[in-house]
């Protein structure tokens, strides 16, 4: 197995890319994808530690995170689609009024 640090660095890379994407992109769907990327990075650290500490708790957490991620995507995409119906647009820098 590769040393633990490798997994952690890869997770850091993925997480940073996720942060970058959230901060720099204006399309709500890409922001969503980047959030998933960050969740995946966190999962990866959990899995790495789980394997190196001989503890299944990490895998259980990954499992729970995946379930929450699925729920989050379902609600989030419903919101995005519903916003699109109102505004014909999913760019976050143009969705800046609270009511219309």
């Amino acid at each position: 197995m590769a040393p633990l640090a490798n997994y952690l660095v890869l997770a850091a890379i993925l997480f940073a890319l996720g942060v970058w994407g959230v901060l720099r992109n204006r399309n709500a769907l890409i922001i969503f994808m980047c959030i998933e990327l960050m969740l995946n990075a966190v999962n990866l650290t959990f899995m790495g530690f789980s394997a190196y500490l001989n503890d299944y708790s990490g895998q259980v957490f990954v499992f729970l995170i995946m379930a929450v991620a699925a729920a989050e995507v379902a609600v989030g995409l419903a919101i995005i689609v519903s916003i699109f119906r109102h505004k014909e647009n999913v760019n976050v820098d143009e969705i800046n009024v609270m009511k219309w």
């Binding site: 970058w20 994407g21 204006r26 895998q59 119906r85 976050v92």
Partner: protein, 167 residues
Amino acid sequence: MNLLVFYILAILAAGSAIMVVTMKNIFHSALFLVLTFFSVAGIYVLLNAEFLAAVQVLIYVGAITILMIFAIMLTHQLFSRSLRQVNEQVIPASLITFIFFVLSVVALAKTAWPVSGGQLPEDRIFEIGKLLMSEYVIPFEVVSVVLLVALVGAIIIGRREKSGDTK
């Protein structure tokens, strides 16, 4: 051998993650996201976690990204390309991200992570199931409620109002 496979998967994951962030065409972003998820699943296999690798493919690739592609098809004109995808804060965002990344890598390198030797017991799915039903039973139940609430919420939000426009 193991290390080599890890590096290939890691480069694939990181490379396609970069493409996810920088691609102009959002459909291509989603496809590269699939590639990232897939490489991460491969890394799970390397860590002897076949169960979670399969679940990763099933949930992330099979459900989440497909839903995203669905949303893309619903919210975008078919072949709308080369729209501006970045907002006006690109440069500060990139700087902050870079600083954050360097700091986290430095922190990772400086910490001595506790590592215990030996291998995990063989019957992994069984162990995960036992943990879910004993030590983590409350989070498990809470997650099931969260999923139910999300399901109902998504249906209510996504539903068109009866009197609304017919688009």
